[in-house]
Assembly symmetry: C2
Homo-oligomer: 433 residues x 2
């Protein structure tokens, strides 16, 4: 007798099989008893009119771990068109308490705090875990696309000596009696590694000690980082980002239909060329279309981003919009200025359905430019000594970007809070589970 997964039932019709998993649901209609088993991949229903078949379940709470043997039978009215008859049940791990949140309902009926407090259990719910299966798919699509373009994966240190990139908002730790910091991003290392491999990417945690509580920020998240050399300017970077996004969504479309269907996800179309608008033109547009004068503001607000997202949809039929040329004043010191208009930068944000998803751009590459930029920013050179060494000994024009994995899922699935796209979120109030 084969031991199979719930997703393999169709290939075993008429056969006696064995499944193992969790006791997901149990109910009775008239004289008919139904059992739903959930394994790591899906669910399967067993049916019997014989009370004795379910006797081994007598003292088991839902979420007990069981083995279910049965005959795979085509039944049009069963979920998925197939169910198990003549069930034989054995308990593997009996439990006695009902789970803190009912997992067998189609939708989890719990507020955000309960959902997160009991994430250990609530992430078992099919609609919750589908989100994290898509996260795995997004990472796989990201890597596959970049591997195909000659990128090398790197893993860079997360404990760093200087709170360098932006000064504030870093977590400090005790490193054998001296202070160290958690990396806010692999920015410096990925640039350094362009000097080694030309094209690199990293998938890993980043840490932001931002002391504000919003629905779209957490303090630790997964960053999909890319950096590569021999670019013309930020438009080279944007073109590559377009390929990466297309690769991610193609992977999801091809291999994650069950999850996308379950979550009613509406995959975006990635146009052959994603539309772009200059920062100043975007502000002008908002003024003209919405009568709000944001011209001269150093950054876009969330409301500005939503308006621009709507405009991209209406004007270009695009879920995505590049905003280019952010003012230099709001960008980090390594940002390359626009040679034609040095108050603006060769950088961009990518809005996905009206929310910032990616930040990227061209970086400075000349050693002398770095020295000047640090001086201009009033920063000392000593904490940047190893970073600067890369530029001292030859770096090509280069750029890159970082995609927030959880942000990508939140926007793709229309979730109201980034925490719902985070396996075990970290925020100002939450360090566990």
């Amino acid at each position: 007798m084969d031991t199979i997964r719930t997703t393999e039932l169709q290939q075993h019709i008429g056969k006696r099989v064995q499944l193992h998993g969790w006791l997901h649901n149990l109910r009775q209609m008239g004289g008919i008893r139904f059992l739903v088993l959930r394994d790591g991949y899906g669910t399967a229903q067993a049916v019997t009119e014989n009370e004795a078949d379910f006797a081994p379940l007598l003292n088991l709470a839902l979420e007990s771990v069981i083995t279910l043997e049965g005959t795979v039978t085509q039944t049009p009215q069963a979920p998925g068109g197939v169910e198990l008859h003549q069930p034989r049940i054995t308990a593997i791990t009996p439990t006695t308490e009902a789970p803190p949140v009912a997992l067998h309902k189609r939708e989890l009926k719990a507020g955000l705090p309960v959902l997160l407090d009991h994430a250990v259990i609530t992430n078992r719910h099919p609609a919750r875990r589908a989100i994290f299966r898509l996260a795995a798919g997004a990472m796989a699509g990201f890597r596959a696309t970049l591997n195909g373009m000659g990128f090398t994966e790197i893993q860079t240190p997360k404990m760093v000596a200087s709170a360098t990139e932006s000064g504030a908002n870093v977590f400090e730790l005790d490193y054998f009696g001296r202070p160290a910091y958690l990396a806010q991003s692999p920015q410096f290392y990925k640039q350094i590694m362009v000097g080694v491999f030309e094209r690199v990417y990293e998938v890993g945690p980043v840490f932001r000690a931002e002391p504000h509580d919003t629905s779209r920020h957490v303090n630790e998240y997964v960053s999909l980082d890319v950096e590569f050399g021999f670019i013309e300017n930020h438009f080279t970077v944007m073109a590559l980002l377009r390929e990466v996004l297309a690769g991610i969504f193609t992977t999801l479309a091809e291999r994650y239909t069950a999850e996308l269907t379950l979550l009613h996800a509406n995959l975006p179309i990635v146009l052959p060329e994603i539309p772009h608008i200059h920062f100043a033109a975007a502000q002008e547009l908002i003024w003209q279309q919405h009568g709000v004068d944001v011209r001269g503001e150093p950054d876009l607000s969330p409301q500005d981003e939503r308006w621009l997202g709507e405009w991209a949809q209406q004007e270009h039929g695009s879920d995505f919009l590049f905003v280019t040329g952010y003012p230099m004043g709001k960008r980090p010191f390594y940002t390359h200025p626009d040679p034609a208009n040095p108050g603006y930068s060769n950088s961009f944000d990518l809005l996905f359905r009206g929310t910032e998803l990616v930040t990227g751009g061209q970086r400075l590459h000349l050693y002398s430019d770095y020295l000047a930029a640090l001086a201009q920013a009033g920063l000392p050179t000593a904490p940047f000594a190893t970073y600067l060494e890369a530029f001292r000994y030859g770096m090509p024009p280069h750029g890159g970007f970082a995609i927030g994995l959880e942000r990508l899922l939140m926007q793709l699935l229309g979730l109201p809070n980034l925490r719902l796209a985070t396996l075990f979120p970290r925020d100002m109030q939450r360090l566990a589970p």
Copy 2:
């Protein structure tokens, strides 16, 4: 004219092409001038007898970034059998200082501290970067093998509330005014996630505040973590680990021949069944073969591991050896005891060429067993509340393992120090670069 990589020269013989990269070497023999360009993938040689061709290099130091145009010409005596004639050179990023370590020598002539102090530059050396290319290959092989077996990739938080797993040796950080810790491993989370996906893996950084300085430890490394449910015992885990190792080395053999050749790497053969020996039998063997009485010791020493590695080679022709059944006293509280001999555990180490590469085993899965194990270890339950929640609501028999990525490379390549297999190592003295 095509812009190509150095690895694509063979497909362009007779054509005029353009390459970009770093000025790797420059020399003269008689009237013939040679230039070696290094890009992110390999090197290419350009040759000329015309001094004027190299005039643009006049004030450039090695490691300057250049464009090299030339005619691809088959030349049996050239490296790789092909070189560029009629070169035309343009400087992209001129540099003026010689790099701190000569990168153009076949071997890097520098002591370990210099190599590490200038890792930003020394990692550019072909023999250094080949190590990290193999690291990327090992991660890719690890993931591909597991994806093929129904595993889901997860990313779990690195900032955690309790210094739980082993108490000591954790880095403490300031989390908005309260203490938090860096995860020593994703152990608890990967077990919890077995309740969600059955089979999970994670590739990510782990942090060990171990205050000792050895050639085979660093304080931050990349852990390849696996955990899965519905196992029989630790032998199920060992069988899966065998497949993962075979998958990793097959990936390297198929796609990283250039790097393996450059590093004179000798790929291990992964036997269909990796030999195994029980901990007690291993101690007995050492006593009999080497006259050193280690029987009753709670652990194996590095010398013991070397002896056992030699024995596995002589007796079984195997680069790998499982040592099973380590005494419970030296294993963490979640370790499953050997039901037939509860002083020993259902755990294992895998030795690779006489050094521990992997630790793994079966875990406890019953809630009541966890409560008993914590009581036995004299540990309170409160810091483990969220971990325990997984077991309270049903977990199957499960187990897993963790491979140290850098350790794998060190042993594969016969490196004398783990730091040489680490991109930017962290140890008690070193937080930068």
